[in-house]
């Protein structure tokens, strides 16, 4: 077993080390922040980061960036205010070390007024969307039409009203009000760049095309605008009832299939016969 332990240790060390590579502040910003933040180009999903290093102390920024939710929950009033101001959208933990966050801050600081480091999407405004775009968006959302590059349909994790009896997914946010919550630019940006790790993973090798993003955004916009008219027919409790009904049927099937199983001892009839014989012949006389 000693040799096995050594092999195991080596494997574990290789695995833990292989992912660690030094990245510059700019790379980190593009990769981790630019889907939701700009430097000097205004609010997106999150605040504009221009001059943030002068507004807050480094210690405060370190805490917020490394785990914004822990920081908000720890009761910091400033952090809480920002969280609420930006529609309580959770900023995912970027998984960066303190040194990496410092290099990131140094980059933001060096950009001064504005920066070109961005993955921001430029797209024609959603007001140009036609009913065809909306209906194509709906088919993409529900998975009826597959994405050109593969990838799971939105309905896997998200729901909107009027989808089906059981509704859409509940792993992630209900997108009924996504348009008004995130603003047009923010919503399009999230669909396009998937800043949240779970969503990123789902589309890592399945990039959405520009047209798909536009259709989906147009659909979500129309859902948001028409939500008062859409009937929310989601009845998730039906899911559990179907399961319980199916269980009863399944147990019935087991009873039927194994109806002729041996239910008592093989000697039962012999014992029974002796019992009968004795009770007839002894107790009667």
């Amino acid at each position: 077993m000693k040799i096995h332990l050594k092999i195991l240790t080596v494997i574990v060390i290789i695995i833990t080390c292989s992912g660690v590579q030094a990245q510059t502040g700019q790379e980190l910003f593009t990769q981790k922040c630019s889907a939701c933040h700009t430097i000097g180009k205004g609010k997106l999903v999150g605040p504009d980061l221009s001059g943030v290093t002068k507004k807050r102390s480094e210690d405060w920024l370190l805490k917020f960036i490394s785990s914004s939710q822990n920081f908000v929950n720890s009761g910091d009033s400033e952090a809480k205010k920002i969280f609420e101001e930006f529609n309580k959208i959770v900023m995912p933990d970027p998984g960066l070390s303190d040194a990496e966050i410092k290099s990131l801050l140094a980059f933001i600081d060096s950009q001064g007024g504005s920066s070109t480091a961005s993955t921001q999407v430029t797209m024609r405004p959603l007001s140009e969307a036609t009913p065809q775009n909306v209906s194509r968006g709906e088919s993409l959302f529900s998975g009826e039409v597959a994405f050109a590059n593969g990838g799971g349909a939105c309905v896997s994790c998200h729901t909107v009203p009027n989808l089906s009896d059981l509704g859409g997914g509940t792993l992630s946010k209900d997108l009924t009000t996504a348009y008004s919550r995130l603003s047009e630019a923010g919503m399009v940006n999230i669909i396009q760049t998937q800043p949240f790790p779970v969503m990123k993973q789902a589309f890592v090798n399945h990039t959405l095309t520009g047209e798909e993003v536009f259709d989906l955004a147009a659909y979500l916009k129309s859902v948001d605008e028409n939500q008062k008219h859409l009937e929310n027919s989601n009845k998730p409790e039906k899911f559990i009832y179907s399961g319980l009904g199916g269980l009863v049927l399944l147990l019935g099937a087991f009873a039927g299939i194994w109806h002729y199983r041996r239910k008592r001892s093989v000697n039962h009839s012999i014992y029974k016969r002796q019992e009968d014989y004795l009770s007839n012949n002894i107790f009667k006389n």
């Binding site: 574990v12 998984g95 994790c157 997914g169 790790p197 890592v204 087991f254 194994w258 016969r273």
Partner: protein, 242 residues
């Protein structure tokens, strides 16, 4: 937090798989005749049927379902692209989950209330029972609370599991999943970890050949019907096996 995630989602699965792999081989070579679940059918068999059958049918099919999604995520997503098919799959899986929960509950009550069974139950049996019970409860909770699991499992967790087996572990997504799902994943690793030390080894040696082995015909050469008949007085025709 990052370190805990590396421990739970990279170190633990590799550790579990290594222990499972070498441990199962070692135990088979060293203690061949203890490589079983130590059947308790002789000790109690009435409630065994209603425990063992629903539990095993449910858990085996659910396990194969998980395995299928890991191996064929694209096919599962294609199947799920139609809402009716997605719901069929999800409800079918939920029925099997409930079936295994029903079965395991019967088995647990049976084991706790029967003195003969308690006498042959080891502490490891209780650990196995607890882990699988927790795993099924979590699984059903996830199926209901985080719909639709078959789809997001295929797009988010299949890549993670595959990344483990290709030695390029990527835990970005899994470390951001809701804690219920994380516990379900950790539970699975713990179950794999304890296989070589518990009755769970029996799943490696199922008597599948029973299904296609030649059947055996039993022929009695003595008057079996006569011996079993109620009208026959046993002092005249003595039963053979009595």
């Amino acid at each position: 937090m990052e370190k805990i995630n590396i421990l739970l989602f990279i170190v633990l699965p590799y550790l579990s798989l290594l222990v499972f792999f070498f441990g199962s081989i070692y135990r088979y070579r060293k203690y061949k005749y203890e490589y079983s679940s130590l059947s308790s059918q002789f000790l109690e068999q009435k409630s065994l049927f209603w425990g063992s059958v629903p539990f095993h049918v449910g858990i085996v099919l659910i396990f194969l379902g998980h395995l299928f999604i890991v191996l064929f995520p694209k096919e599962v997503l294609a199947w799920n692209s139609n809402l009716i098919r997605l719901l069929t799959l999800e409800i079918g899986a939920l029925i099997l989950g409930l079936s295994s929960l029903f079965g395991l509950t019967v088995l647990l009550i049976r084991r706790l209330t029967n003195a003969r069974l308690r006498a042959v139950t080891s502490p490891m049996d209780y650990i196995v029972e607890f882990l699988i019970f927790a795993q099924i409860i979590l699984g059903i909770y996830i199926a209901y609370g985080y719909r639709w699991g078959s789809s997001w499992f295929a797009s988010v967790l299949s890549p993670y599991i595959i990344s483990l087996f290709t030695f390029r572990p990527d835990i970005q997504a899994v470390s951001q999943m809701p804690w219920v799902i994380q516990f379900h994943i950790i539970g699975a690793y713990l179950i794999v970890l304890i296989v070589p030390f518990s009755r769970l080894v029996h799943f490696l040696v199922p008597p599948i050949h029973y299904i296609w082995r030649p059947y055996q015909q039993v022929i009695w050469n003595w008057g079996r019907k006569k011996a079993k008949s109620k009208d026959e007085i046993w002092t005249v025709t003595r039963p053979f096996n009595n």
